[in-house]
Subunit: 459 residues, 2 copies
């Protein structure tokens, strides 16, 4: 390479920040996908100023910088595809301010989402986004990927809570965008440009998140349907009944059977759909809403309906849903999880398309996800050691994305494009839309040093 | 000028689209502010393709294009500051699709907001944003300015409902951004870049809006406080009590007295604050939430508290709040309305700052607005014919913005920057943030033909 990136960075940063031994770099070559690529150096920053130092250096020397939180992303976003510097911000983990008067929290990007939730709940407030990885993923990663979660039906996703950001640009300039105001139309909404930009536009160094009053009560229900269409009609009827559930999760027959194989809970193997439904809010409202939902389920030929009387029973109802990921991991050697998002009314059609693809490619595909907002996670169960099977997996993935777009959907609801979905980007976006996004990228990061090779590919 | 803009455009467009007589152009020189500037030509388009035709021409000839809906904006956004073409999209007013299964509506930009609300409510759904101008303003204008309204406390503002946009770029290219998915992280969130961009980045030709279940019940309350601090503490306590009201409006003593002068309702002239509070949702929830709020008001030394038993009584409680604008218009010859947004806990301090400024500049300033989200509308009451007084008005405006920023607030919560607030933009945003916004503007509209002179000034 000519230069020694590690020694250059060591001269600029305090002791212990720079790692460039192969065994260290290997730890930062991965995320939650199967993609891997070694960074040339790893920097574990301890302050926004160190982020600036790294970016100034990288900008001057055209070195790729790949921001990284917990490395738990599901689209390859923090994999250093083109080498360069893995910039680890997980050490920036201060919760700087919890303001109950204005109902907001100011924190650094490395704060673990679950820790932030506990801290604000201790102050009587509520941060709704709840990605499955909340016990280890970071707020910075959630913002960069616009993470969702089961509570998104009622409460929306990460973007709906980000009021302000401090971002270090590729140039090393630090900008503050948005602020502590709930309503703000002062200039362009660049906060939302950075949310979900997958580390390609800047490095987040501070986040201001809006909070809500903590709901006083919650009610969990499990409805099992023999027929998928009855479940889908139930989802539509619940919404039409004036109830916006907190959570409305679906599991298909394959998921149900994988869980039954794994846990032997006595689940009905012939059921086509489980719906796990939660409502929250004032106790009286929760009772009323749960009653409406119970009534709608009964009218829609529910096979069985259970309503939890307490948190312990609620945990029991969640057990099957929580076990889906480990259960399907047992079936074959690998699960390839996708993250399509369709208009809500297209869910039954999308499930049937995936079932067709499963038959055509002779691959089990378990489907679960967030029926309340149309975001489904089809998981293809395969054996990575079998190259012929992996070709069928590729065909299945392409067919799933094609079906999603055909039904008015898109490639990703909450995981991002990263590396995994980039071959399909132009299926979902027109050439004009991609060109517009790339022109914005060039305006914000003219040298293209930030997370190169992501979203758009190398073009 | 050399060229004749009107005759050029007439050649390109169907009969009747182009107006360039002075008396016609005069009708498109205004918006809801006192700013005015004549366009050189007016085009009233009837299709997105005609928008494209105008933009291609304007791009080729470097002619400013100022998109315009109903022209009811409150920051000069649709005033053709640098001449050029007033591009009137108010005629594009089709509601193309109301989808109750996916809970969304697809419409053209010229649809009047109130008409859209009625149409979706007839289908059992709910479009929450409710700007005061909803009986004449358009969805396109709401999107371009990111309009808010009283229901924003619980439901958010226009941006929180825009799922997808079709936008004609300065080049004439049409791009579709977002779509019918509630969750979408496929590429950058350019939907939110265009929302609130005040016509400076593109011309909106289609909007996809998310809808909610229509709340079954509503409850309206009016609480009158002798002391502003008691009112502010009540706001904080309501939220801390786990209740998120739909609406939480405040009126200060000056507003109360203006309304009393105007309508003689018998309002208490010594009261420092009215709080108008609404909750909505399931009937049982609404009862429970109203009960919590009533209890909190009683604990906070409320002078009087009324709860409406039906819609007629609710209308009575709203009467004073709805009369504020006409009432204060009676006091002096002009009202100069601002739109600051502060962290919610800064409301009492901000109100006191405005009262100080009112005394210092010897100008009555009525304050009303959305206490639930920190968005206040101080209205300076003045006589535009008195040049000395208007200098004091300028001082008062500057002092209000300075106080807002000092208290962690910003220049505008729901009206935009446009022309009116642009002298103060750099008070709220750092040079780096402004430069970043301008680099995005150049990337999207390289020739700067779209609504030039807005937000950033002529620089």
């Amino acid at each position: 390479m000519g230069r020694s990136l590690g020694s250059d960075l060591r001269r600029l940063l305090p002791d212990g920040r720079v790692l460039d031994a192969v065994e260290d770099r290997t730890l930062y070559a991965y995320d939650g996908t199967s993609a891997k690529a070694l960074p040339e150096a790893v920097v574990t920053v301890r302050s926004p100023q160190e982020v600036v130092t790294v970016l100034r250096y990288a900008s001057a020397h055209d070195v790729p910088v790949v921001p990284r939180g917990a490395g738990s992303g599901l689209s390859g976003g923090s994999v250093p595809a083109l080498g360069g510097i893995a910039l680890v911000v997980a050490g920036l983990r201060a919760i700087k301010e919890i303001d109950s008067g204005s109902m907001l929290v100011v924190c650094e990007p490395g704060v673990v989402t679950g820790d932030l939730q506990k801290a604000v709940e201790a102050a009587g407030m509520f941060y709704p986004p709840d990605p499955a990885s909340l016990n280890y993923c970071t707020i910075g990663g959630n913002v960069a990927e616009n993470a969702g979660g089961p509570r998104a039906v009622k409460y929306g996703v990460t973007k709906d809570y980000v009021l302000g950001l401090e971002v270090a640009l590729a140039s090393g300039d630090i900008v503050r965008l948005g602020g502590k105001q709930v309503k703000n139309v002062t200039g362009y909404n660049l906060v939302q440009l950075f949310v979900g930009s997958e580390g390609t536009l800047g490095v987040i160094t501070e986040v201001i998140l809006r909070l809500l009053p903590k709901p006083a009560a919650k009610k969990t229900m499990l409805a099992i349907f023999d027929r998928l269409d009855d479940a889908a009609e139930t989802v539509a009827a619940v919404m039409a009944g004036g109830v916006l559930p907190t959570t409305l999760e679906i599991m298909d027959k394959t998921s149900i059977n994988c869980v039954e194989d794994y846990l032997k809970l006595g689940l009905p193997r012939d059921a086509e759909a489980f719906l796990l439904i939660e409502v929250d809010g004032m106790p009286a409202a929760v009772e009323a809403e749960a009653g409406v939902i119970a009534g709608i389920c009964q009218e829609r030929r529910v096979q069985s309906f259970q309503m939890a009387r307490d948190q312990k029973e609620a945990d029991t109802l969640w057990r099957a849903r929580r076990a889906v990921s480990p259960a399907i991991s047992q079936v074959r050697r690998a699960k390839i999880g996708e993250d399509i998002s369709v208009p809500r009314s297209a869910i039954p059609a999308m499930v049937r398309e995936i079932q067709r693809i499963s038959r055509e490619q002779d691959l089990p595909i378990a489907i679960f996800g967030h029926a309340g907002d149309g975001n489904l996670h089809p998981n293809i169960l395969a054996d990575r050691r079998d190259p012929v099977e992996m070709v069928r997996v590729e065909h299945a993935i392409a067919a799933i994305f094609e079906a999603s777009v055909r039904l008015g959907g898109t490639l990703s609801g909450e995981h991002g494009i990263g590396l995994s979905k980039q071959p399909f980007l132009r299926l979902a976006l027109s050439p004009e839309a991609v060109a517009l996004m790339q022109s914005v990228k060039r305006a914000v990061d003219p040298k293209g040093i930030l997370n190169p090779g992501k979203i758009f590919g190398k073009a």
